[in-house]
């Protein structure tokens, strides 16, 4: 196939393929990150790849860049089968990548970072000189001005990203992969980046843009591929799709879950937040003035594409992340949200928390069931004797009760958490947090990695807790789970509340739009 550099966008449909992936699979231990992926990218286009966190986008691109090796599948570059076993092979094939976490050596200067691995000889001086002239040329051509002698660690993230792009251009790449490039950028920096990408495209370069931000996809790409749970769902022409369609494809529809529940009878407000904001250490605003409330006897679902602030909200409420500003009140009493170590205080006041990541935060994997079912509550008099001695027998007896009531299998209080299935692990966490008798239960991704049978059981427990007059905040990326369980739904987008709906009065279409940050017209909602 003869190369056709510089095909304008109009001719893109006829452009030859720059990248062709077929049957790519990759697993990390038991986790299948990519499953039988097929992808075709035309030369001279900007091709978007969207999907939620953990959908397998980064893994796929890391395979293309030779950072990981695929378990199966074939890669064709410019029509030729190209085995890519390491990054050297990828660079030789003309592929450059800007990683989400920059691959820069922070104490090095820009020049040193650029030449690393692309030196002209064993001595540095000629390499540095050549890079200096080349950088000046690239800076002029692509608006990529960076001080070549600046120490990279002292540059802002926007400039660090430029260095990454310059690294790829210095190696004369034809194909540029960008993994979540705007996650750390200010809006102005992001605009600048997209101008650069347009320019690169006009030079005939192929660009792969990984993101979970639909607005960027709509604004910048020619084509877009959607990934979900390690699989390639569909490839669409950007001009012929909509954010709502993409959001739906990203989140997916599972077999509709039905949960038996009566209409809620909400009581007084138990937990409320006012203008809750959180800016993380990198200066990214994770929460922007979030105000919400949850009442006794009510399940409040928090919907949204992963990474839009739901996790941070849970963490602030649970007392494991400090908020930057705002207020949280429990039964009218203000809570201390300035410190990270308030989880214990929250628990004593009656806020229980089932964390999103049960392996990292919900359980101590090498601990036995009886230890896990009392951990965090081990200071209570029923578990703790004088001088801080544990009442082992009482804890085991308590564990046996929880095992029976929550149908934890196998029913062995001495088995380590690591030896249970995902569903039973989740039941252990749930048993601990529900049976301590909280007024408010925070629960994140209650059924992630849980089998169908356990899902039903867990859902019934949550509804039973609501019927007992408790307030529940449910965070889930599974839209149907949110719809099946919630009485009221708050949708989050980009750290803000983009909409609040009664669960009975809304549908996936409307929620999908809100999840994409688009306000549906008011008439349709009513």
């Amino acid at each position: 196939m003869p190369p056709q550099p510089g095909s304008p966008a109009g001719g893109a449909a006829f452009a030859p393929l720059a990248i062709e992936l077929s049957g790519i699979s990759k697993s990390f231990g038991a986790v299948q990150a990519n499953r039988d992926i097929h992808l075709a990218v035309r030369r001279g286009t900007i091709h978007g790849i969207v999907g939620e966190n953990g959908a397998g986008k980064s893994t796929l691109m890391s395979i293309l860049y030779g950072f990981y090796e695929a378990d199966a599948g074939e890669i064709r570059i410019n029509g030729r089968a190209t085995p890519i076993r390491d990054s050297q092979a990828a660079i030789a094939a003309g592929i450059g990548m800007v990683h989400q976490h920059f691959m820069l050596v922070e104490p090095f200067t820009v020049l040193e970072n650029v030449i690393l691995g692309a030196e002209n000889g064993p001595l540095l001086r000629p390499s540095l000189a050549r890079a200096r002239t080349e950088l000046t040329r690239l800076a002029k051509e692509y608006e990529l001005q960076v001080d070549p002698d600046a120490v990279v660690g002292e540059l802002s993230v926007g400039f660090q990203q430029r260095v990454e792009i310059l690294k790829a251009l210095y190696r004369e790449c034809d194909i540029l992969i960008l993994d979540e490039p705007t996650g750390v950028l200010t809006p102005a920096e992001a605009d600048h980046l997209f101008r650069i990408l347009e320019h690169l495209k006009s030079e005939g370069k192929t660009i792969l843009l990984i993101t979970h931000k639909l607005r960027e996809i709509m604004a910048a790409t020619d084509e877009v591929s959607v990934m979900r749970r390690g699989e390639m769902v569909r490839t669409l022409t950007t001009a012929e799709t909509s954010p709502a369609e993409l959001a739906e494809l990203m989140v997916g529809r599972r077999v509709l879950l039905r949960v038996e529940k009566t209409p809620a009878t909400p009581g007084p407000v138990l937990l409320e937040t006012r203008d809750l904001s959180l800016t993380d250490a990198k200066g990214v605003e994770r929460l922007r003035a979030v105000s919400l409330e949850v009442r006794a006897g009510e399940i409040l679902g928090i919907a949204g594409v992963a990474g839009n602030g739901q996790s941070e909200l849970l963490e602030v409420l649970a007392g494991i992340a400090p908020a930057t500003s705002g207020e949280v009140r429990l039964k009218g009493e203000p809570l201390d949200i300035s410190r990270t170590t308030n989880a214990d205080d929250r628990r004593r006041r009656g806020i229980a928390h089932v964390p999103e990541d049960r392996h990292r935060r919900g359980l101590v994997m090498p601990y036995q069931t009886w230890e896990n079912t009392s951990f965090g509550y081990h200071d209570l008099p029923k578990f703790c004797a004088h001088l801080g001695l544990m009442k082992g027998d009482a804890m085991r007896e308590d564990a046996r009760g929880k095992i029976e009531r929550f149908d934890i299998r196998p029913p062995d209080p001495n088995l380590k958490a690591a030896n249970f299935s995902g569903g039973n692990q989740q039941k252990i966490v749930l048993a601990r947090e529900i049976e301590c008798g909280p007024d408010v239960l925070l629960i994140g991704q209650p059924t992630r990695g849980v089998d169908i049978g356990a899902i039903e059981f867990i859902h019934r427990q949550i509804v039973a807790l609501r019927d007992a007059g408790k307030a529940i905040i449910l965070v889930s990326v599974e839209l149907d789970e949110i719809q099946a369980l919630s009485d009221r739904i708050v949708v989050m987008f980009d750290g803000r509340v983009s909409g609040t709906r009664q669960a009975a009065d809304t549908d996936e279409r409307e929620l999908g739009l809100l999840m994409a940050g688009i306000e549906p017209d008011k008439g349709a909602a009513a």
Binding site: F28, Y65, F67, Y68, D86, S87, Q88, A89, A90, I91, A92, M97, H99, H101, M103, L104, V105, E106, P107, F108, E112, N113, I115, L116, G117, A118, E119, G121, P122, L123, L124, R125, S127, K167
Partner: protein
């Protein structure tokens, strides 16, 4: 007269600093590449033993030196295997190497020579002798310059000069060559090296082997240069002092020279002044001898400013979760 004493102490400092300096630079290569090496001590000890033993048997200091280097590099490879290929804990591997060297030198030494773990006294051919640099005689009569040349500049064995030359050489390799750039990069962010298409494993093995080479020379110097044969545990913590000097020098070659000279100087003072009397107080000899070790503790406790080690140091490079 005063000058002569000063010069003797200076010369002695230099000779005592030499094994520290070689070991310190050895550690510098390894740790700059992200492999912490607490086993400098063990490698030196093994090298000292092999150099002493082989020099005693063959009567050649040079063959002894090669044997010492070989022994040290074998231990380096074990450390590399454990910490690079098998991605194990670098501290534990280093500690294991120290124990291995301590036990093996005693065991093999006793079985080989039956002298309680020592090697036989070395003859002149089996040792690196002090070199008389040219012009010493000519310059001798000149005041100040003559004695300085005679006692400080001339009159050391070849390994002392080699150690001194290793300082600018290390600086040059580290900051002026492609290898050095990559070596420093792999200690800071192996991911950047990997994605630049360079083998992290190969680079780190290269660094560990250079470390073995320099440790080998340091060890051989102890048994065939400074002393005339191997004595059990003759490194006496020098590997750890070198490590402290490396941290003191913040992993840079020229400051490493300064740090090692300081330690050498303290040791020289301790040897020369077996009891110092200040007024009516007599400072005991044990205190003087303990000075280098006290300084080591002070440095490691962080009293000399914040030392930031190479960022990826101590962690094996694992890219797949």
């Amino acid at each position: 007269m005063e000058l002569e004493i000063l010069l003797q102490i200076a010369g002695s400092s230099l000779r005592l600093a030499t094994p520290l300096l070689l070991a310190c630079l050895a550690g510098l290569y390894s740790e700059r590449a992200g492999i912490f090496d607490i086993g400098l001590e063990g490698k030196m000890l093994a090298a000292a033993f092999m150099a002493g033993a082989v020099a005693a048997v063959t009567g050649s200091a040079w063959v002894g030196l090669l044997a010492g280097i070989a022994a040290s590099m074998v231990l380096s490879l074990i450390h590399g295997l454990a910490s690079i290929t098998l991605k194990g804990n670098q501290l534990i591997s280093g500690v294991a190497i120290n124990f291995l060297a301590s036990g093996l030198t005693a065991l093999v030494g006793q079985n080989w020579f039956h002298q309680g773990g020592q090697t036989p006294q070395l003859t002149a051919g089996g040792r690196f002798l002090a070199l008389e640099l040219p012009l010493t005689e000519t310059l001798a009569p000149i005041p100040v310059i003559g004695p300085i040349y005679q006692h400080l500049i001339s009159g050391h064995n070849i390994l002392v000069y080699l150690a001194l030359a290793a300082v600018p050489a290390t600086w040059w390799v580290l900051f002026r060559t492609r290898f050095g750039l990559r070596l420093r990069a792999v200690g800071e962010n192996p991911g950047a090296v990997d994605t630049a298409g360079i083998s992290v494993v190969r680079l780190r093995y290269a660094a560990v082997l250079i470390c073995g080479l320099l440790c080998g020379i340091a060890g051989a110097y102890l048994s065939t240069g400074m002393a005339a044969g191997f004595v059990r545990e003759m490194t006496a913590g020098k590997g750890f002092i070198a490590l402290a000097a490396l941290i003191f020098a913040k992993w840079r070659p020229w400051p490493a020279l300064g740090a090692c000279l300081l330690f050498g100087f303290l040791e020289a003072i301790g040897i020369r002044y077996q009891g110092i009397t200040i007024g009516s107080i007599v400072i005991p000899v044990q205190f003087m001898q303990a000075l280098p070790y006290i300084l080591t503790v002070v440095i490691l406790a962080g009293f000399v400013g914040k030392a930031v080690p190479p960022k990826a140091g101590g962690r094996p490079y694992v890219k797949e979760r």
